[in-house]
Subunit: 321 residues, 2 copies
């Protein structure tokens, strides 16, 4: 039997077929074209899935379940997407629509949760019973895995780790609140800090590399820090301090076996991981107790397909734990 | 069959015998006298338990398990107390020592976790599969219940909700970090805010009632706010804002079915609850989604005995979930 996983993004639909171990056997993709009617998007999601199925040399009869990762929240009882801001979706009957093309059980979950599940089933947190995934991109997303299953909460609004408060009355967030964690730990935050720094220190290598403040990105800042530019090092130090505080919040709240850092910023690799890990001990409540392993995600962009496919494997009858 | 629950505090040992439903059948207490050798304290813990057992008209043969709540952390595999700062305990073989007197399975957990379990088994969160208990006292403690069982984490350091960061580089905490949640949400924090306020506004009713800044306590501040003193109302408004942020962190992180407020501050009752609940919607990530019920604890001081007794009922073979 195989599992279909569909990664629905704001710009791209990626679908794949995996085995029980989360190994992708074949995949296919299409443009999302978010402004289209949802039925057209779902038709193309099914089309990609069927193409991947064909590529894997399988038929619908071989399919156990279909999983979908969305940049939003869903209700696995009704199979509806409740919110999906990027796509302008609100109360969209995704399961019903998808089953018109492929009549198999459909499970839907948030993309950060799905990526966390992927790492937990087939990636770096494979042997951890509990793990928390932090995706460090434009925003900060969270995925909580408890006893191998995604935890999405009693009302489906759990693991919004980007929107817990890190600073009372802090930097205004896109969500309408102030001081949310993602305003300090996202790639967007790192870029903001870089821009603020070069406004005061135009001599920084950051500006030389980027050409202009507008062109500054996370990679440039981290590369400059790695190369020893003092301004970039200060920015990186500040960013990794916030990230260490976020990681410590996860430790003090849930104490998972493993914390996985993913998303664009995690591409900075060992340099980032070392900086964060060096700062953690200072923030620990119990200095001499063991605490979560902190690791980098390993599945990259495939996490979306793999984790979506694995939703069907780990969820039963709409239950999340 | 009955369950023994022992609430080990820094000043008092309270032991009780409960039935399966967490109803206390009899109890007994003794002074802790923390500076004594631990063996003397454990002897008195067992003594209280046996006295309560006798009071309930039961014998050791009727006892299923013994549970102990401690102001610290324990290892339910070894049965050792790892840390218990109030008592100066470090790696104390509590289970082994207790079993010299009563040879039954022993389970040990943090007092806030135990109080959360009590409410979950026999109190306000009885019908909630998942709940988070916040104890608002000298510090802030947390108890996480998932699927009816206490969640103490992969390394036993979970649910230290008082020590997640609410303000980067904020008020120095007793734990050595800065800006911990308990520096803003504990009774100690409310008193600090009250003292700061009367230093600037000695005309406040708070000072009239307390007589001096040193005598200010949480009850005086809340009573004055309730009676309309404008300075007290401002302090209370600020305190409940912090508390609402803390509650929102619990919602955005774990999204439990219920959040229970306990500890000394919760004695302010409905007035406190109304103020916190009024502030929550502003901080929600998903404004139109349902979220956790927020309730006041109902078991008061009995929560320590009841929750400890219930540890044996819900834990098996040292597993926490």
């Amino acid at each position: 039997m195989v599992y279909i996983g569909i990664d629905l993004g704001g710009t791209k639909i990626a679908a794949g077929v995996t085995n029980r171990e989360g190994v992708i056997l074949a995949q296919a993709s299409a443009a999302t074209i978010a402004e289209r009617p949802y039925k057209d998007i779902v038709r193309d999601m099914a089309g990609c899935a069927l193409k991947a199925l064909e590529g894997a040399g399988k038929t619908i009869d071989d399919v156990e379940t279909i999983g979908v990762g969305i940049p939003g929240i869903a209700d696995n009882v009704t199979g509806n997407v409740i919110f999906c801001t990027n796509l302008g979706w609100h109360d969209i009957p995704l399961r019903d629509e998808l089953q018109k093309y492929i009549s198999k059980p459909v499970f839907i979950d948030n993309d950060a949760t799905v990526a966390g599940l992927a790492e937990s089933q087939a990636g770096v947190s494979k042997n951890a019973a509990s793990s928390v995934f932090l995706t460090l991109g434009t925003g900060v997303g969270g995925g909580i895995i408890i006893n191998g299953k995604p935890w999405t909460g009693a009302n489906g609004v759990a693991s919004e780790l980007g929107h817990i408060t890190l600073e009372v009355d802090g930097i205004p967030c896109t969500c309408g609140k102030d001081g949310c964690l993602e305003r300090y730990c996202s790639a967007t935050a790192l870029i903001r800090m870089g821009r603020e720094a070069v406004a005061l220190h135009p001599e920084s290598l950051i500006l030389t590399r980027a050409g202009s403040a507008e062109n500054i990105n996370g990679k440039i800042i981290i590369d400059c820090a790695r190369e020893g530019d003092p301004i970039a090092m200060k920015v990186f130090d500040r960013y990794t301090k916030y990230l260490a505080l976020a990681v410590n919040t996860v430790i003090s709240f849930l104490d998972p076996e493993m914390i996985v850092l993913g998303g664009g910023i995690s591409m900075a690799g060992q340099y980032l991981l070392d900086a964060v890990k060096a700062k953690i001990p200072h923030y620990l409540m119990y200095k001499t107790m063991p605490y979560a392993d902190i690791k980098l995600a390993v599945l990259g962009n495939n996490a979306g397909i793999i984790g979506a496919a694995m939703l069907g494997l780990v969820l039963k009858e709409g239950e999340s734990l």
